[in-house]
C-alpha cells in the first residue's frame, strides 16, 4: 500500500483538528464508508441474535439454495451459510482490529526510538526496509513456515506488515515537525528533547497515522483472505470471510450463490475502510 498522505503542515488548536476529522467523515465519501463498515460490523456483532445456527454444525443438506431455515443456503458440508458469514465477519474484524493497533504501536515506538539518535535512526530504517523487502505474501509464507497455519500467524503477519508503514509515516512526520519554529522555540525555551518530542512534535505528526489506520484495516482483511486462500490461514472449521470465499471458488460454476455473501461482506469492508481513509485524508488536508 503506498502512502496516501504527505506530512501535514503545522496545526492550529486541537478543537479545530477534531472538527477537520469530522468534516472529512461527514462527506458523501466518508458517510458511505462508515455505512458500509458499520452495516457489516453490526451484522457480525449481532450474529447470535440474527441466526440460531451453530456455524460449524454440519447438516444433511449440502449446497442447498436459500430457504426459510437457511436464508443464504448451506455450504458444501451442509453448514448454514448465513451463520458462517456472520461469524466469519467477527473473526476477520477481531483479527484486524487486534493486529493493526499492535503493529501500529510497534511501528510508532520504533519511529520514536529512531528520533532519539542518528544510529538508532539508521538501525530502525534498515529494519523497516527488511520487512518491506518481503512482499506481503512471502512474509506470510515465512511466518507460516515457522509457526504452522492458524489464527496467531495471521495476527502476526498483519501486525508485521503494518510496522514499517506506520513507522515510516511517523518518522517522516517527526522529521518535518522537528524543524519547525515552534519546536525550535520550545527547545530554546528550555524544554528537554524528550519533552519536545512527546509533547509538541508527536501530537502534530499523528494526522497521517489516522489515515494510515483506515488503510491498514482494509489491508488486514486482505491479508486474512489471502492466507486463507493459500491454506495458511485460520484453521477450519472456524469460519473467516477468506476461508468461506476460497471454499466457494470450487462451486462457482454450479452454485454461484455460495460466493455471493462472503464476496459482498469482504468487498463492503475493504471498500468502506478505503473510503473512510480517503475522506479523512481530504479532511486533514483542507
Amino acid at each position: 500500500m503506498t502512502a496516501l498522505t504527505a506530512p501535514a503542515p503545522a496545526r492550529p488548536a486541537r478543537a479545530a483538528v477534531r472538527n477537520r476529522y469530522l468534516a472529512g467523515l461527514l462527506t458523501a465519501r466518508g458517510l458511505t464508508g462508515l455505512a458500509l463498515v458499520g452495516t457489516v460490523a453490526l451484522a457480525g456483532l449481532l450474529a447470535p441474535l440474527l441466526t440460531g445456527h451453530d456455524p460449524n454444525a454440519q447438516g444433511p443438506l449440502a449446497l442447498a439454495g436459500p430457504s426459510a431455515a437457511h436464508p443464504l443456503g448451506t455450504d458444501d458440508l451442509g453448514r448454514d451459510l448465513l451463520s458462517r458469514v456472520l461469524h466469519g465477519i467477527t473473526t476477520d474484524l477481531a483479527l484486524t482490529f487486534g493486529a493493526v493497533p499492535a503493529g501500529a504501536l510497534l511501528g510508532c515506538s520504533l519511529a520514536l526510538l529512531a528520533a532519539t539518535h542518528r544510529w538508532a535512526d539508521t538501525a530502525v530504517q534498515r529494519l523497516f526496509d527488511l520487512v518491506l523487502a518481503f512482499p506481503g505474501l512471502i512474509l506470510a509464507l515465512a511466518v507460516t513456515a515457522v509457526l504452522g497455519p492458524g489464527r496467531w500467524p495471521v495476527f502476526i503477519v498483519i501486525a508485521l506488515a503494518e510496522i514499517p508503514l506506520f513507522g515510516r509515516q511517523l518518522r517522516s512526520g517527526i522529521l518535518v515537525q522537528r524543524e519547525r519554529e515552534y519546536a525550535l522555540a520550545a527547545r530554546v525555551g528550555g524544554a528537554s528533547r524528550a519533552r519536545v518530542l512527546l509533547r509538541h512534535v508527536l501530537p502534530n505528526a499523528v494526522d497521517p497515522l489516522i489515515v494510515q489506520s483506515a488503510v491498514a484495516l482494509s489491508v488486514g482483511v486482505f491479508i486474512e483472505g489471502a492466507m486463507s486462500f493459500l491454506g495458511l490461514g485460520v484453521r477450519p472449521p472456524e469460519p473467516t470471510l477468506g476461508s468461506i470465499l476460497s471454499q466457494s471458488v470450487g462451486y462457482l460454476a454450479t452454485h454461484p450463490t455460495f460466493a455471493a455473501a462472503p464476496l459482498a461482506a469482504t468487498t463492503a469492508l475493504v471498500l468502506g475502510f478505503t473510503l473512510i481513509a480517503e475522506a479523512l485524508n481530504r479532511g486533514i488536508r483542507r
Binding site: 509464507l141 495458511l232 462457482l252 460466493a259 471498500l271
Partner: protein
C-alpha cells in the same frame, strides 16, 4: 554500460548471499524437524536418527549451510524431503506456467496503466477524470481474490465467454491457451496497473506544470504532442522504478491467483513445501524469489538510466 553493471552486480550478489544465509537459518530455527515428520508417528528414536544422518541434519549448521551453498553453485538444489523428487525438477515443472502468467500480467499492467495515467492527467471533463480515479481506487482497494471471483462469475459463469479456470499449453493450442490466460492475467494485473497509473498521472501532471511545457505551448505545439512527446517521457523514469517494485508484488500475487484459477504454476509447490516442512523446496523457492527481485532491481536501474539521459552509465 559495462562499468555500470560492474558496479551494481557485486552489491546484488552480496544481497543474494546474505539472503541465502537468512533463508537457511530461519528454516532451521523452526521448532520440529523434518526427520520426525518423515519417519512417521510410530518410528523409534533410532529410525529418526538414521533419517537425520541420511539427510545430513546431524551435522553442524555451518557445515550444512556450506554444503547447501556449494551444491547450489553447481546447480544442484537437492532432493525434496516430503514431496519427493529433485527440487530442480519440481520447480521446473511449475515455473513455466508462473512465468507465463506473470509476464502476461506485466504486459497488461503497462497496457492498462499508460492510457489510464494519461487520461487521468489530461481529461478536460471532470467526470472522465473522476471515473479514472474511482476505478483506480476501487481496483486498489479490492483484494485480487475478490476481483478473481467476480471476474469468474461475470465472464465465465454469467456470460460464458471464457473458461473459469485451467491451463492449456501455449505451444499446442495458442488460441485456447490465451483464453485460459486472459482472466488470471487481468486479475493479477489490475492492482499493479492502478498503482502505476496513479504514479504516471502525478508525473504527467507535474511535467505539464513545467516551464518547458508553457514554452512548447507558446511555440504552437499541439496538446497531444506535448503530452505524449514531452510530458510522458519525463514521467516515465520514476514510473519504471514503481513498475520494478510492482513486479515483486506480481510474483507474490501470482501464487494467490493460481489458486483461484487452478493454474498449474509454483503456487501448489509453495503451499505443499511450507505446510510439510520441506526445507530444500522452501529454501530454493525463497531464494529464487530474492534472486528474481535482485535481477529486476538491476534491470530497473538499467532501464532508468536508458530513459533518463541525465544519468550516466559510468
Amino acid at each position: 554500460m559495462r562499468s555500470f553493471l560492474l558496479k551494481r552486480l557485486p552489491s546484488g550478489l552480496l544481497v543474494l548471499l546474505l539472503a541465502s544465509f537468512v533463508v537457511f537459518l530461519i528454516l532451521r530455527l523452526i521448532p520440529g524437524d523434518p526427520a520426525t515428520t518423515l519417519a512417521g508417528p510410530d518410528a523409534g528414536p533410532q529410525a529418526v536418527a538414521a533419517i537425520r544422518a541420511q539427510l545430513g541434519l546431524d551435522e553442524p549448521l555451518l557445515t550444512q549451510y556450506l554444503h547447501w551453498l556449494g551444491a547450489l553453485l553447481t546447480g544442484d538444489l537437492g532432493r525434496s524431503y516430503a514431496i519427493g523428487g529433485q527440487v530442480a525438477e519440481l520447480i521446473g515443472d511449475g515455473i513455466g506456467a508462473t512465468v507465463q502468467l506473470t509476464a502476461a500480467a506485466l504486459l497488461l499492467v503497462v497496457l492498462l496503466a499508460l492510457p489510464l495515467g494519461v487520461l487521468g492527467a489530461t481529461a478536460e471533463r471532470r467526470p472522465v477524470a473522476a471515473a479514472v480515479r474511482a476505478f483506480t481506487t476501487a481496483v486498489l482497494a479490492v483484494p485480487p481474490f475478490v476481483t478473481g471471483v467476480l471476474l469468474v462469475l461475470l465472464f465465465a459463469v454469467t456470460l460464458g465467454l471464457l473458461p473459469a479456470g485451467g491451463h492449456e499449453s501455449l505451444l499446442d493450442a495458442p488460441d485456447l491457451a490465451l483464453q485460459y490466460l486472459l482472466l488470471p492475467a487481468v486479475c493479477l494485473a489490475l492492482p499493479s496497473a492502478a498503482v502505476l497509473a496513479r504514479y504516471l498521472k502525478d508525473g504527467i501532471e507535474r511535467a505539464l506544470a513545467e516551464d518547458y511545457v508553457r514554452t512548447a505551448t507558446a511555440a504552437g505545439v499541439s496538446r497531444r504532442r506535448i503530452v505524449w512527446r514531452h510530458a510522458l517521457p519525463n514521467a516515465l523514469p520514476s514510473a519504471v522504478t514503481v513498475l520494478g517494485l510492482q513486479i515483486g508484488h506480481l510474483v507474490a500475487g501470482a501464487v494467490l491467483v493460481e489458486r483461484i484459477f487452478a493454474w498449474p504454476g509454483l503456487g501448489q509447490l509453495v503451499e505443499q513445501g511450507v505446510l510439510r516442512r520441506d526445507y530444500p523446496v522452501v529454501q530454493a523457492l525463497l531464494l529464487l524469489t530474492v534472486a528474481g527481485y535482485v535481477a529486476v532491481q538491476l534491470l530497473t536501474d538499467l532501464v532508468y538510466a536508458w530513459l533518463d539521459p541525465r544519468i550516466r552509465w559510468e
